[in-house]
């Protein structure tokens, strides 16, 4: 050990520091009942500030937290990821406002935990050491456990939280054990060291430890991104969680895990490609297949979206095989688009249920096209995007993703993925059918009044972003490419 204190570059962790501070401020202000109404807006403001901080650092090149033992790095990759998380959180806050009020869960902790979760995700994105990754993961997970179970009186929320907690902690166990094995193999948990170990001569025992560690890490991360067969929690938890939290869960936490996965597989474990490429490709196809096929028979909307999110995770796994910058960039691009899409989809449900309108199953959406034209139009845009029909961002994302896959030489995988995305159309469009082509069974007793302004703002933003990116994807594509540029 070095006796002198290692030089620390505090700017390298600036976004995380701002986020944690923001969460703390919200937590403290939330203690005062009189500020209750203002909390969400305070959260938005603080999130915006952290966003500005992150944007400000873009393009500055990789800056390590510490020279000796980097722990965390601030590069474009982590910054872009952080920005995606923040954007997701902003949308979540917006759709949460009316929802939380309607369910009486509009307490300061709710928003504080949300921002804590973002800081955890940001930490994961920036981590260059298994341990910072683990800490970020736990910050994220613990916040989510609470958020999912936030509706204390609601049995579903409670059940969802318990399931997510038990399985999440179980998965953490796998990750930790995997980390231990990797540590044993290379004597360090730093990515660089592990990569170096992989690059050099290695004995059979070390190799076994490395492979075992990678396998167990994949199990844990696979759990977070709902990769089959570690996906089983997804529909139950999404269904049980408060809808905005489900939205956040399906975008943010999944994105964070993907960011880590990219970093691990592309920059740490390329040496084990021969081992993990067949594995991941089989699991990716399985994920796509199971997600899409089961979604076909769902009538509960949140479960349907859950299975759809499983399927999308499968698509995003595919370009990892290509191992190219294009592949990584396409995942980043897909994540960004996916965040907007899923936020939109869950957001519509949140906005509806905030006004006491039932939106559990497809039946509840019957006639939405004439009852709530704008809302229905937004959901339609989102669903077409999820299905990957131009001129939506979903199409561009899929196109880029499958292009990367084909350029990497995996035409068969691309074909299978594309075919299943054809299957997916059925269930997305079925929702549209219910909205536009079925009359409402009986005029549902809706709470009169307008839909929440903030929620609609979020939804319009998502829909517009989806359309804008669908037509003019260049800027965002460049951002995604820039993000992966610094990855080795």
């Amino acid at each position: 050990m070095n006796s002198a204190l290692p030089a620390i570059n505090i700017y390298a962790v600036m976004p995380q520091i701002v986020l944690v501070s923001a969460a703390t401020v919200v937590l403290i202000v939330g203690l005062f009942e009189r500020f209750r109404k203002g909390i969400p807006y305070l959260s938005l403001l603080l999130l915006a500030v952290s966003g500005v901080v992150a944007v400000n650092q873009l393009g500055r090149g990789p800056v390590a937290f510490s020279d000796v033992s980097p722990m965390m790095v601030m590069d474009d990759f982590s910054l872009v990821a952080t920005l995606v998380f923040i954007a997701g959180a902003v949308l979540t806050v917006l759709i949460s406002i009316s929802y939380a009020e309607a369910r009486s869960i509009d307490r300061g902790e709710y928003y504080a935990l949300l921002i804590f979760a973002v800081s955890g995700m940001s930490m994961m994105a920036a981590s260059t050491d298994l341990f910072t990754f683990f800490l970020g993961l736990e910050v994220l997970s613990i916040s989510l456990y609470v958020l999912i179970g936030f509706e204390q009186r609601d049995a579903g929320s409670n059940e969802g939280a318990l399931k997510y907690f038990l399985l999440g902690a179980f998965a953490s166990g796998f990750i930790l054990y995997g980390m231990a094995l990797l540590y044993g193999a290379s004597g360090s948990t730093e990515y660089d060291v592990i990569a170096r170990t992989l690059g050099g001569e290695r004995s059979d025992a070390v190799n076994l430890l490395l492979l075992g560690g990678l396998g167990l890490l994949l199990v844990g991360i696979g759990f977070k991104i709902s990769m089959v067969p570690f996906h089983a929690w997804t529909p139950d938890v999404y269904q049980g969680a408060p809808t905005p939290v489900a939205a956040f869960l399906s975008t943010g936490s999944k994105a964070a895990a993907f960011v880590v996965l990219i970093r691990l597989l592309v920059s740490v474990f390329p040496g084990l490609q021969m081992e993990w490429i067949p594995l991941i490709s089989v699991l990716a196809i399985l994920t796509i297949a199971v997600g899409n096929v089961v979604a076909l028979v769902q009538t509960n909307l949140k479960r349907l979206l859950a299975y759809s999110s499983i399927a999308h995770a499968g698509y995003m796994l595919l370009p990892l095989m290509a191992g190219s910058q294009d592949g990584s960039a396409s995942i980043v691009f897909y994540l960004i688009v996916y965040t907007a899409m899923n936020m939109g989809a869950f957001g519509v449900l949140a906005v509806l249920s905030a006004r006491g309108m039932p939106c559990a199953t497809m039946d509840d959406l019957a006639g939405l096209g004439s009852r709530r034209p704008l809302l229905a139009a937004i959901l339609a845009v989102v669903l077409f995007s999820l299905a990957g029909i131009p001129p939506t961002a979903g199409f561009m994302a899929k196109f880029y993703l499958f292009s990367a896959l084909v350029y990497g030489g995996y035409v068969e995988l691309a074909l299978i993925g594309l075919l299943f995305s054809g299957v997916s159309l059925y269930y997305y469009l079925r929702v549209v059918v219910w909205m536009y082509m079925r009359p409402a069974a009986e005029a549902p007793a809706e709470a009169a009044g307008r839909l929440s302004f903030s929620g609609m703002t979020a939804l319009c933003l998502s829909a517009l972003a989806i359309l804008a990116v669908g037509v003019f994807p260049s800027e965002l594509l460049q951002l995604a490419e820039q993000a992966v540029m610094t990855l080795p």
Partner: protein
């Protein structure tokens, strides 16, 4: 001197016992304990490896993990209490209203 592999085997056994506990016990509290056991299995590996390499970071990690585990358990117990309030049971196989 006990070779490091013994510790590793022990840690693996601990991990598997914990995992088995998670899989087979109905009581949520005991399941929680199973998870703790898994984490501790991993911790043991860390310590063993750290000892072998003669480095301190493994030990530090273990402390961190223990802290994290404590936080997790706190949340977990809170959730179990809520479960008991809502349903009057702590048997997790009876919690199955969300399915299919």
């Amino acid at each position: 001197m006990i070779p490091v592999s013994y510790y590793l085997v022990l840690s693996a056994v601990l991990f598997l016992v914990g995992a088995t506990g998670v899989l087979v016990r109905r009581n949520a509290i005991i399941v929680l304990m199973g998870i703790e056991l898994m984490l501790n299995g991993a911790n043991l590996s860390f310590v063993a490896f750290a000892r072998q390499f003669g480095m301190a970071d493994g030990h530090i990690y273990v402390f961190l993990v223990i802290t994290v585990a404590a936080a997790e358990v706190a949340i977990g117990l809170a959730l179990v209490i809520l479960l008991f309030r809502n349903r009057g049971t702590v048997n997790i196989d009876e919690v199955r209203s969300l399915r299919w």
